[in-house]
């Protein structure tokens, strides 16, 4: 029994990740970061965190903000809402952070945001986002990420650049966000004259063959995958093996050029793999990538990709707000700074990130990329989205 106790303790220690970026000092500005570093989507959230951390390290190297350096309290929620809430409360109740950044899947965000709003702690989320940041924005809630409804509509429009008409097959796993993205994609597709079919599979699926066969049997002209990176890596080769060789769009919910490369390799062909993304890939010709790559090289992060860019841009937002917040930054001052932030991302997104008092998300820009066997290459201009086009489902 003693052995068993040791084992459980060891396992618990192995899973418990609670790190701090940089040693704290009295002058530091403390911020929190909560994300999934050990759960099912850790593969996507970890590079996002790395991008954010790189930005803050680079900023500290350059002297910090208003003479203060930033220290980050990092906690892993394992994609569980209870752990996310506990971590956030620990950060704002015990550690006195002025704001929290990151957060994981949309399902863990709601409970955290309820607590942070009560406590008056500003939160800005990374690649996952929920409607709370959109107009009329909820207090203390910001995002530079992907709101599923907005993404679904953007993909609906951008698909027209690949196939002007025909049948779209949407695929997702059984989740609130996935269904929301699919619904808005479907409404836009129908509005543009496409026919629509869909396949919804269980969230814990790891063998995609039957679902790929079902989708291929629907005889699509284009397939859209509304799920995370891992599902794309499994689904694209399964679709090719099921006989579907047509265009496939990866919705960038945590996917990057690494996803496209892995899927293309396993599928045995680079053809007809597209991605719709808010952020440029690591191989893009964007001025803002130079600073990210320099920081990545300095701190030993290899091959930064679009997920690192996602985290870096969140860092840019946090940095701009901390600078504006002043030397004696408080939660309310940080909130006010976030609510009026306007950031030139130096080409890392299709346009600036602009927050206003009633809109904590701002206009977004969506790029259509094609995998050319070596890298993601943008096709056409960025698509700007100012508001949700299809009425929300009550």
């Amino acid at each position: 029994m003693k052995l068993f106790t040791h084992l459980l303790t060891g396992a618990g220690l192995a899973l418990a990740v609670s790190l701090s970026a940089g040693a704290g000092s009295a002058e530091d500005i403390k911020i929190g970061y909560v994300t999934d570093l050990s759960g099912p989507l850790a593969g996507s959230y970890t590079p996002t965190w790395e991008g954010f951390e790189l930005y803050m390290k680079a900023a500290n190297d350059a002297g910090g903000f208003n003479g203060n350096k930033v220290s980050i309290s990092l906690d892993d929620d394992g994609l569980r809402a209870d752990r996310a809430v506990a971590a956030a409360k620990k950060q704002f109740e015990q550690e006195g952070v002025v704001g929290i950044f990151g957060l994981s899947l949309s399902s863990t965000q709601g409970p955290v945001l309820t607590e942070t709003r009560k406590a008056g702690v500003p939160v800005a989320t990374s690649f996952s986002a929920i409607l709370d940041a959109l107009p009329p924005a909820q207090p203390y809630t910001y995002s530079t990420g992907v709101v599923f409804e907005v993404a679904g509509e953007a993909i609906g429009h951008l698909a027209q650049r690949i196939v002007p008409n025909g049948k779209v097959v949407g695929m997702t796993f059984d989740s609130v966000g996935g269904r929301a993205a699919m619904r808005h994609n479907m409404e836009i597709a129908r509005k543009l004259g496409y026919s629509w079919d869909e396949v919804i599979f269980p969230i814990r699926t790891s063998d995609f063959t039957p679902f790929a066969q079902t989708a291929a049997g629907m005889k699509p002209d284009i397939v859209v995958g509304h799920y995370g990176a891992g599902q794309n890596v499994g689904m694209i080769p399964a679709l090719r093996a099921a006989g579907y060789m047509g265009p496939y769009i990866i919705a960038s919910y945590g996917a990057s050029e690494v996803t496209a490369e892995e899927a293309a390799t396993l599928a045995g062909s680079p053809d007809n793999i597209y991605m719709v993304s808010r952020y440029v890939p690591g191989t893009a010709d964007a001025p803002g990538l130079a600073a990210l790559k320099a920081a990545a090289e300095k701190y030993g992060v290899s091959d930064p990709n679009s997920m690192h860019v996602t985290g870096w841009v969140l860092g840019m937002l946090a940095g701009a707000a901390l600078e504006k917040c002043g030397a004696d930054c408080t939660r309310d001052k940080l909130d006010a700074a976030l609510a009026s932030a306007e950031i030139d991302t130096q080409g890392l997104t299709g346009g600036p990130i602009t927050m206003t008092a009633g809109d904590h998300y701002g206009p977004t820009y969506w790029g259509l990329y094609k995998w050319d066997g070596e890298q993601l290459v943008q096709e056409g201009d960025w698509l700007r989205r100012d508001a949700i086009e299809i009425p929300l489902q009550q």
Partner: protein, 288 residues
């Protein structure tokens, strides 16, 4: 044709996982809840070894995985399970749950929860007239699974060690009084079980993908083992095909979203009818 081959291939993968669970249960009455995690870690290891020696092809990766799996099985038994002999079986089962957590943590720490597919055997051999394709890995999975089951059958029927294994599984005390080395038998059971898991993990990763989610393979294998009977290799084979068939046919003909639930409905139905499984031994249940 496409559906039949897909069911057969996935069924064989589940059957291999189930076979490992059955081997350990037969020998020690322990249900190994870490089997899926072990299978997927072995798949990741195969992938990494393949990347380490890309020029040498498949064999160094296979040898690394083979050695790791056999050593891992023996170490699990000698370091952990041997000390729990005579303790209530739930204690050993709880240790396997702790092992599952540790192996899953290894996926996070070593492979950073990456979503990877093993680039082996994915080439298309034949296109079906009604759509879809037969890939090399499909044939490899069926052939490997068949070889494993035939090998285990021959071993238990004709090899001296195999007969001793059966004797120890039926009555460990009596077998030890007849000079059967119980530690050797149990080490062998764990080594063979982990090796079966490794094969299943590599085949699964070559056909689909490896991710922290893929550890659900263990749950599918456990369901197959329970449907077939926890102490029956023949049952593991049948259970694997039943579970795979239920998933595929539900996904293709009824509703993909229901496919996860159907194997468990079958499990409940079998448990209500024959609680010891389709080919399980009735007295085994009484011992649990």
């Amino acid at each position: 044709m496409e559906i039949l081959v897909s069911i057969a291939v996935l069924g064989m993968t589940y059957a291999l996982v189930a076979a490992g669970i059955v081997l350990v249960y037969k020998a020690s009455r322990v249900v190994n809840f870490a089997h899926g995690e072990i299978a997927i870690v072995c798949g990741y290891l195969f992938y990494s070894a393949g990347r380490l020696w890309p020029a040498e092809g498949f064999f160094p990766a296979f040898a690394t995985t083979l050695l790791f799996s056999l050593a891992c099985g023996v170490v699990i038994y000698l370091v952990l399970m041997r000390r729990l002999l005579g303790e209530p079986t739930f204690v050993a089962a709880m240790v396997t749950i702790a092992l599952a957590i540790i192996f899953k943590a290894a996926i996070v720490v070593v492979w950073r929860s990456s979503n990877l597919g093993i680039p082996m055997g994915r080439q298309i051999l034949l296109l079906y007239p009604d759509g879809g394709a037969l890939r090399l890995i499909d044939l490899v999975t069926l052939a490997t699974g068949a070889l494993c089951f035939i090998g285990l059958g021959v071993f238990f029927r004709y090899a001296r060690l195999g007969r001793q294994f059966r004797g120890a599984a039926e009555n460990a005390l009596l077998a030890s009084q007849r000079q059967v080395d119980i530690n050797l038998i149990l080490s062998l059971a764990w080594a063979a079980a982990v090796f079966a898991a490794a094969i299943a993990g590599v085949l699964f990763g070559s056909r689909s993908m490896l991710s922290p989610q893929s550890t659900i393979l263990g749950l599918s294998g456990l369901t197959a083992a329970m449907v077939g009977g926890l102490d029956s290799l023949r049952g593991a084979l049948l259970g694997g095909f039943l579970v795979a068939g239920a998933i595929y046919l539900t996904a293709r003909l009824i509703d993909p979203a229901l496919s996860e639930a159907v194997p468990f409905i079958i499990l409940l139905a079998v448990m209500a009818w024959k609680p010891w499984g389709l080919f399980g031994t009735r007295e085994e249940l009484d011992r649990v």
